[in-house]
């Protein structure tokens, strides 16, 4: 029975991250996760109370745009596991759960850096025409993601919660900071790649407009997109009118084309 509980708790922890990243049925919504951990441990009300506490702690904290927020779901699983297994009170379980949730967030940064290489492997498989392998390698993604929460849970289940605190102390601060700094800088590679694919030289002013609105005026991206839409709308209309005049007066078309060639 104890072994079955251990295995189910570990599986729940691993699946939780895959779910948060994709289907969002359990996610790491603590109230739901607490209920399920409680069911596994045979004490639903303890699970609910711990989950409810973490749920209220997490309100207003959401992971957006790939930013890292504390993993309250894992904290709930660990808290429930410890509370039911060792019989410590709910407050003590919460104190144990939080650092484990923090460890998972450190591991998230590592996982997402590793996934960069998975992504490149997929793309090189595509270029070589090995699509079967590309599709299979993609499954490493969810597997690696699940390790973020699976590894800390295995450690707690096997060795107890004190080991997690020890691990957090052993990792030097400059390493965890360094990884977070890297996480902040790395989107630059993707954005620059995207710019290589888009007509940057032709429409440079619009990048500048977007930048100024965001950097100087802190306009949210929806506002910037509306400005972009206005510009796009105007451009589209002008192009259509040009095309109509070009169709009417063939000579005018030649002049327009020369203007368009400015691009590359």
């Amino acid at each position: 029975m104890i072994w079955l509980q251990n295995i189910l708790i570990v599986l729940l922890a691993g699946y939780m991250t895959i779910d948060q990243n994709g289907p969002v049925v359990l996610s790491w919504f603590s109230a739901i996760v607490g209920m399920i951990s409680g069911l596994i441990m045979g004490d639903v009300s303890t699970g609910l109370m711990i989950g409810g506490t973490f749920q209220l702690m997490s309100l207003g904290v959401a992971a957006l745009g790939g930013a890292s927020a504390p993993n309250y779901g894992l904290a709930t699983i660990i808290g429930t596991f410890i509370a039911v297994r060792t019989g410590t009170g709910i407050d003590a379980a919460i104190a144990v759960g939080l650092p484990v949730g923090l460890l998972a967030i450190q591991l998230e940064v590592v996982a997402r850096i590793i996934l960069n290489f998975v992504a490149h492997k997929m793309q090189s498989d595509n270029n070589e025409g090995k699509w079967g392998r590309m599709n299979r390698i993609a499954l490493l993604g969810p597997a690696i993601c699940s390790l973020q929460t699976l590894i800390p849970t295995v450690i707690v289940v096997a060795f107890g919660a004190s080991v997690v605190n020890l691990i957090l102390k052993v990792i030097p601060e400059w390493v965890t900071n360094g990884l977070s700094i890297a996480a902040g800088m790395l989107p630059v590679v993707g954005i620059a790649m995207l710019m290589r694919y888009m007509p940057v030289k032709k429409f440079l002013p619009f990048i500048l407009i977007g930048f100024v609105l965001s950097a100087y005026l802190n306009v949210p991206v929806l506002g910037i997109a509306i400005v972009g839409f206005a510009a796009a709308f105007g451009y589209f209309k002008i192009q259509l009118e040009k095309a109509e005049t070009a169709a009417a007066v063939p000579a005018a078309g030649a002049v327009d084309e020369m203007g368009d060639d400015f691009d590359e």
């Binding site: 992971a63 998975v118 599709n135 902040g184 989107p187 710019m195 694919y197 910037i224």
Partner: protein, 281 residues
């Protein structure tokens, strides 16, 4: 250069068109909504998940291997949005690819880039802030008292949301089909217009999603100056992200540098600068 590739592809891509079925749509939607952030990486974010989700249906659309490769590579690019809303964007681009094939590559890219930001703006607020705050506080308080009702209702809603997300993909597909039929010959003007909108979003991304902050202080006599807040921010906000973007953009243009090398370089720089306290989180 763009014009040349377009012309070549028109010559190759004249085989009969594949008609996307309802089953294709359900399968692609399910694949996307499952994978979403599960191959999330800091460089291309959801890019590989989109490519993986689209791979089977695109294989049916592109019978030519080179076109298929190019179409997938197009989807491997940087992409990120709230998955619920993004189902609509991807449904629409699928409709465009079904109709116009590889010629529409740039249209697909521009449409994705221009819509992902605003859709995420709306989607993140609704899906990740508003809804979890409301249902989370209700079920959180209930759970604290040992009452599972809130949590159960939330769980059921989430299961229903899964089907709504998959439905949104079909909604996107239908509107994408309408869009592409109405545009017809105006497609190239539309692509350019969409890339204008897309690039203004890219400009915002440079300022908002690249984070690099220096921790350096230096002393001038009695006065201590913080390089970030007192110097760099005074020159221009997000100055370091701009410089970084310019450098990486330039390096990507040279044959010697690949994205993988640049990623390793960035991680290396981050660790070294963290060790010496040059950069901070």
């Amino acid at each position: 250069m763009n014009n040349n590739t377009e012309q070549n592809n028109t010559i190759i891509g004249t085989t009969e068109k594949y008609q996307v079925t309802k089953k294709d749509l359900s399968r692609t939607a399910a694949r996307y909504n499952f994978m979403a952030c599960n191959i999330f990486n800091y460089e291309s974010q959801q890019g590989p998940a989109v490519a993986w989700a689209m791979a089977p249906v695109l294989r049916k659309i592109y019978k030519n291997d080179d076109e298929y490769k190019a179409a997938l590579n197009n989807h491997f690019n940087y992409y990120n949005s709230t998955t619920v809303m993004s189902s609509m964007i991807l449904g629409a681009t699928l409709a465009i690819e079904e109709k116009d094939g590889i010629q529409a590559k740039e249209t697909v890219q521009s449409l994705k880039t221009s819509l992902m930001g605003p859709f995420a703006g709306v989607g993140d607020t609704l899906v990740w802030v508003l809804w979890p705050t409301i249902i989370g506080s209700i079920s959180g308080y209930m759970a604290q008292q040992g009452n599972p009702l809130g949590a159960i209702v939330w769980l059921i809603c989430n299961i229903i949301f899964w089907f709504i997300k998959c439905k949104f993909f079909k909604v996107g597909y239908t509107s994408g089909t309408k869009l592409i039929t109405n545009l017809g010959s105006k497609l190239s003007a539309f692509t350019e217009a969409a890339s204008i909108m897309g690039l203004s979003v890219v400009g915002a991304l440079i300022a908002s999603s690249i984070n690099i902050t220096t921790a350096l202080d230096f002393k001038v006599g009695e006065v201590a100056l913080n390089l970030q807040t007192d110097v760099l921010d005074k020159i221009m906000p997000a100055l370091l992200p701009v410089i970084l973007t310019a450098v990486v953009y330039k390096l990507l243009g040279s044959k010697k540098w690949t994205a993988t090398k640049l990623i390793l370089l960035v991680i290396g720089i981050a660790l070294v600068c963290s060790f010496f306290g040059i950069l901070t989180v």
